[in-house]
């Protein structure tokens, strides 16, 4: 090390160049980190490739008349009626939202606008526990408790699954998701807005309804969009409590059993060691997967837009 006195105006460039070994080591570490970050991109590419390459074979070879207007979804017999799956997906998602939207948003409003900090400290972790419950547990609960104790009282059958039963189960599963995104949106509303409203003599409820909710509306919409996406992709609850296995006849009644897109995929893959059936059965799995992937991706992108709008606003 040079001392100040021994380097009169003539420190060499080499002295400040840094050890090449260290520079190399840093570059290596930086590359390794980059590769770690790249894994996600590779995974995405592989998902897209896998979906498209197999789905393409399906789309090329399938008799398209078997995908529309048939009596139902019988993949092992070469009948791939998409409306069957779409109607079931719509029903379960709709029912799920009828359950999750009021419960999730109500919980969020209470936590954000009414609960004292001490209550929040207890209530939030409980909601987080609900969020952590595996979907097979909800599937079991929907089939063995909700069906006889709830669905049976609103016109359904208690002894077996149905789209209604599955929809309620999926709804419960998405309550924490709706609650947490909605609460984040309301937390982002500046305190000054609330104080201004309170300053004009508005009560808490009025402030909430007239000021906080309109200000947070993008986030509330986002929470619903993301929840719809999640409900569309939910597999196990519908697989267990949807009232159909392997194949389904097209039905428009939520009291019947049917298959949604993901539960149809799980049905096709389970039971036997291999996906067997008519020639395109295996590829149909990827075709349905592709449709589901594109739908949820679109919803998530729109949902992200809304979440970002909240962030930009305040």
């Amino acid at each position: 090390m040079e001392t100040p006195d021994s380097v009169p105006g003539s420190l060499s460039l080499a002295a400040l160049a840094g050890s090449p070994r260290r520079v190399r080591k840093e570059r290596l570490i930086s590359r390794v980190m980059f590769c770690a970050a790249l894994v996600s991109v590779v995974v995405s590419a592989l998902i897209i490739y896998a979906l498209f390459s197999e789905a393409w074979i399906f789309m090329r070879d399938v008799d398209w008349s078997s995908t529309w207007g048939e009596l139902g979804w019988f993949p092992r017999r070469g009948i791939y009626d998409m409306p069957t799956l779409l109607v079931a997906s719509l029903w379960t998602t709709l029912i799920a939202m009828i359950v999750a939207a009021p419960l999730g948003m109500g919980a969020a409003i209470y936590l954000s606008e009414y609960a004292r900090p001490t209550d929040r400290a207890i209530l939030k972790p409980i909601l987080e526990i609900l969020a952590g419950i595996p979907s097979v547990v909800l599937g079991f609960f929907a089939l063995l408790w909700l069906a006889p104790n709830v669905v049976a009282h609103i016109g359904g059958e208690g002894g077996r699954g149905s789209m209604l039963t599955a929809g309620i189960g999926v709804g419960i599963l998405t309550v924490p998701l709706v609650a947490s995104i909605s609460e984040d949106a309301m937390a982002a509303v500046p305190k000054s807005l609330r104080e201004a409203s309170a300053g004009l003599g508005a009560r808490n409820a009025v402030t909430t309804v007239r000021v906080v909710l309109p200000a947070a509306v993008s986030g509330l919409v986002a929470s619903l969009i993301v929840a719809v996406s999640r409900a569309l992709g939910e597999t196990m609850v519908v697989f267990m409590a949807g009232g159909a296995a392997d194949a389904a006849i097209r039905t428009y009644s939520p009291y019947d059993g049917s298959l949604t897109m993901p539960s149809a995929m799980a049905s096709l893959a389970s039971g036997t060691d291999q996906v067997v059936g008519e020639g395109l059965t295996f590829q149909s799995l990827f075709f349905v997967g592709l449709v589901l992937f594109l739908l949820t991706l679109g919803l998530n992108l729109v949902g992200d837009r809304f979440v970002n709008r909240v962030r930009e606003q305040y």
């Binding site: 996600s40 991109v41 998902i47 419960l103 097979v136 079991f140 003599g201 409820a205 995929m265 799980a266």
Partner: protein, 326 residues
């Protein structure tokens, strides 16, 4: 200041002087809102109580046998139990920790400290956010494609070696598939933890001549460790509870005769099952043998204990450090 003072006065006015005109609408609103929360909590309570009640017949009399037993064709069987599922779920957790943890933390550090807000980094971030929203069953398709089907990419990059290395429909394949599934969770939580490191610490290290990697090792990793750990625990709990991808990768629901010890690594490339799969299987068996619904409930209790332990550890860890740092 002025706003809040007026606010207090106004509120006092409402409560103090106009008490006769009670706020019916406001009270009703609050009641509705509160009931939403109460219903949610009630559902959770009913779910837990009902499941434990159903599970009681199995767990009260033969907990240890149940934990050590295997898949059986009848629900009344001394050897019925979830050991094979525990084996699968345990190793899935291990593989998730071994792969998603280092890759996720590396990616988070790259994005927060190395990427310099480049366009590429923005693309990677977008990809990660979207991956987080891909349905789990689609990850199952990826696992099926990569590890089981001996596929090729564009006709020439063969993936057969992956199937050979993992044993195809095996715990190893399942673990890797779920590691990919939870990777975005690990990355996003780790990014938040890395972002929370005070810039003063980073500058202090740089100012003393630390290189970037030294700064990361000595400042970021120690400070962000609790946050990173929380994210990893949540990810593991998510992975252990997942069933859909396992069905697609080919978890076995019947005819699994091996029942290896937890530490026996020879079963990693063999046919496998996992706790959630056993639950699904037993629920479907209950039509034939109603006793299986109790067995399924008992398996759920075992799964919930594992998942909630991981979750609560994560939540407690996070709350403790949030409080500590004010």
């Amino acid at each position: 200041m002025t706003f809040s003072t007026i606010g207090t006065v106004a509120r006092r006015g409402a409560n103090g002087f106009e008490r006769k005109r009670t706020d019916v609408a406001g009270g009703l609103f609050k009641a509705v809102i509160l009931s939403a929360l109460v219903v949610s909590l009630l559902v959770l309570a009913v779910l837990l109580i009902d499941t434990v009640a159903d599970a009681w017949s199995q767990l009260s009399t033969r907990t240890w046998d149940f934990l050590n037993g295997s898949l059986r064709s009848r629900s009344i069987d001394d050897k019925l139990g979830v050991k094979q599922g525990l084996y699968g779920s345990f190793w899935i957790g291990v593989f998730v920790a071994l792969t998603a943890f280092p890759i996720g933390v590396g990616a988070a550090i790259y994005l927060e400290e190395y990427a310099n807000k480049s366009r590429l980094a923005a693309v990677i971030e977008l990809v990660i956010r979207n991956l987080a929203g891909v349905p789990s069953v689609v990850y199952g398709l990826l696992g099926l494609f990569l590890f089981v089907e001996r596929s090729t990419i564009f006709g020439f990059v063969g993936l057969g070696w992956l199937a050979d290395a993992t044993g195809g429909r095996s715990v190893l394949s399942a673990g890797l598939t779920l590691a990919v599934l939870v990777l975005p969770i690990v990355i996003i939580t780790a990014q938040e933890a890395v972002r929370s490191v005070p810039s003063g610490l980073k500058e202090g290290a740089y100012g003393l001549g630390a290189t970037k990697s030294e700064m990361v090792r000595t400042q970021i990793l120690p400070y962000a460790a609790p946050g990173i750990l929380t994210g990893t625990l949540l990810a593991m709990s998510r992975a252990i509870g997942e069933a859909a991808p396992l069905i697609l990768v080919g978890a076995i629901t019947g005819g699994l005769t091996r029942n290896p010890e937890l530490w026996d690594t020879s079963g990693l490339r063999e046919k496998f099952t996992a706790l959630p799969i056993i639950i699904v299987e037993w629920v479907s068996e209950r039509g034939r043998d109603p006793g299986f619904s109790e067995a399924a409930a008992a398996a759920i209790v075992v799964l919930l204990v594992l998942v909630l332990l991981l979750n609560m550890t994560a939540i407690l860890l996070r709350n403790r450090f949030e409080k500590k740092r004010g």
